[in-house]
Symmetry: C2
Subunit: 415 residues, 2 copies
């Protein structure tokens, strides 16, 4: 599609200009965008109401409509998010590890922008602003392609951001927006390796499967979150109940919510009755292994399939394990490498868990629900990587950069 | 292929055991391998001579035969390489950036092994030892798949390494070797994402094209090296001639050798006659743009195609440019993001060049021939990445690791 190729090409050209922008100019652009978003609140809400009307017409779920909806408070939050990203240190230009080699060469690494970042996301309009702000701050052009449900909201936000860039003499293609919503657009984008350096997929499993293995552009995928909480033998019972309840119930539809609870056999009788009652009171459906069902006889049976399932719903599978090793082996076999927690009072077991569990976020005595760029102190996030290469977990400014070698000599040649 | 899948599966299982190995055990294994390689020199040379015989029979070029050949000195170098990797700090387990969040959570990053690294390489037997040692030191299993020309040499080296692992009670599948040489093996390996976490391709353009876009395992490719040297307006003439000559002639068949020389128009008359003579004396064929040929009238004409060509041979294309901006624009358009150098006495121009040239290694006043793990102080290298994500340039221990978030709490839940 010529139109999409042209958008990507212009974004690439704009990215060369971003190399020259000083930190203060980027900061100033982000602050101006924040102000303009607050000033244009009425216009933004008007466009958002078009999306909400369309959403109701096509029968979006109340949850999805809620994600889509903006209000004055949410508009203010977007502006504050921009100010928060503006206040972070500029990652670009940092030179680290510069060492003198025996031949007198100085060899170090310089942090630089990646170039052009494509981002494919779903219904929340604030993602448009979060991603554009992180990319601008880190010196990357961004190509935004949001869900069709939020088209009008995303478009007005992109327009506002572009108008500030233009006013400041920055190539507005640095924040590019694709307003075509066909699925084929995504397939086209992942082929444009000439212009796009990396694509971040926030669309979940369906989107990843749709793209398959045919992409030419490197992809960082926000994969499944089959998150575990393991309650160890000598966990604090109250803490265990509180954390497990929070990990499952506080917001069950998101990737960092718990899907499987693992309980040490020696603590199961002390913790499961109370936790089971709390969860059921919250409307949660419980499925357990055979041993679990001896303690909670009225719950369903968890099958092999359950251990592999990301419910994204008020459903929890529970397994009793004989020790921490069995818990770690279960997570290794069935986990998705997203977020996993141990609740324990044992220091050796806490250390063992953080060493051996190979996930993007490994927790001791806290809810997995914290896996989030804001909660981790990154200001905002581009998404959460469940891959091992380049970026793991919430991706912030640093994950939007790469490091190149810089070598300073005074005439060295190789013998 | 069941056999290849089984090898990968065993390597994955071995990788879990590597998490438990202390640094001192890994170091001790590397030192023992070094000793055993020296002790078994005669056996290694005997196997190597089988490869050389076969190579002569099938008509390998003298250059390739030289790359393949081992001798007592090269065996000693392999052992010393192992000792050098053994002496490097263990990258695994380092926790950085641990900060306390307002809610009391400690959030930081822990460096961990990636898991299983596949490496596909060509004729040099020392690559077998370099890669296995870097993987073992960084806690990764390795699956080695070398070129068929070096099969016997690689196999004896893998056998020696495995025998030390077994003797020390380490799962020998941590250093796995594939002795089947069909091309289909590579296509099979890149599908095994269940067991292999990353594949490093050292085989150049042909190998990358063979695999195409069908890989399921993330790939780090050692792409082309279309390297430039730009001689700036006020370069030191002697230094410029010396560095450009070295970058082209010292070893023209490798990826970090210069392929295109860019010369500022104001210095061209001073530098090109001497440099042209030196290069021609070394047997180098020169091709130039129109302006270059006004100074060096007896050289061939460089066409558009030449700017895009990695000769890997004693051929050089030369272009005269009107200023540093044109030089940078040329590198941006035609370079492959490998290694590019400026020769200059101007500090602002040196800074501009390192900021704006988007390559894995950017040089000021030195030969591009230094792009190499050993020369950069990494001990050895797994290959040179021309990608931007995860690793750029020579890949050492750190590039064989990833960082996961570690979160230490005392009961925090998300509100």
């Amino acid at each position: 599609m010529k139109e999409i190729r042209e958008i990507a090409k212009l974004a690439k050209e704009a990215s060369y200009g971003l190399i020259d922008l000083s930190s203060s100019v980027k900061t100033s652009a982000l602050l101006k965008i924040a102000d303009l978003i607050e000033k244009e609140e009425a216009k933004i809400l008007a466009e958002n109401s078009k999306d909400l009307e369309y959403g109701k017409k096509v029968g979006l779920s109340p949850t999805l409509l809620d994600r889509l909806a903006l209000n004055p408070k949410r508009v203010k939050n977007m502006a504050d998010g921009l100010r928060s990203v503006a206040s972070l240190p500029d990652p670009v230009g940092e030179i680290t590890g510069m060492k003198r080699r025996p031949n007198g060469l100085f060899v170090g690494k310089m942090r630089v922008a990646i170039g052009v970042i494509g981002i494919i996301y779903e219904a929340r309009p604030n993602v448009t602003v979060d991603c554009a702000s992180l990319c601008l701050k880190s010196g990357n052009s961004v190509v935004l392609r949001g869900g069709k449900e939020a088209l009008n909201s995303n478009k007005i936000l992109a327009d506002i951001m572009q108008s500030v860039l233009s006013e400041m003499g920055i190539d507005k293609a640095a924040i590019s927006f694709i307003s075509r919503v066909e699925k084929e657009i995504v397939k086209e984008l992942v082929q444009l390796s000439e212009y796009i350096d990396c694509i971040i997929l926030r669309g979940g499993k369906g989107l990843i499967e749709m793209i398959g293995t045919g992409a030419k552009v490197p992809i960082i995928a926000h994969g499944e979150g089959i998150c575990h909480t393991y309650i160890d033998e000598d966990a604090d019972i109250d803490m265990a109940v509180r954390i497990a309840y929070n990990a499952k119930v506080q917001r069950p539809g998101v990737c960092n919510a718990m899907e499987t609870l693992l309980v040490h056999q020696k603590i199961a009788k002390k913790v499961l009755p109370q936790l089971g009652k709390d969860l059921k009171d919250a409307g949660c459906r419980l499925l357990g292994c055979e041993k679990t069902r001896q303690i909670l006889p009225d719950i369903g049976e968890a099958t092999e399939e359950d251990w592999k399932t990301e419910y994204l719903d008020l459903i929890l599978s529970i397994k009793m394990v004989s020790d921490i090793n069995e818990a770690i082996a279960h997570i290794t076999k069935y986990g998705s490498g997203h977020s996993d927690a141990i609740i324990t009072s044992s220091h050796p077991n806490a250390m063992k868990f953080i060493k051996k569990v190979d996930s993007a976020a490994v927790y001791v005595n806290a809810s997995t629900r914290f896996t989030d760029g804001g909660e981790f102190g990154l200001g905002a996030e581009m998404g959460i990587s469940t891959q091992k290469l380049h970026a793991r977990g919430p991706m912030g400014l640093q994950e939007l950069t790469s490091e190149k070698f810089v070598i300073l000599g005074d005439g060295q040649i190789r013998e």
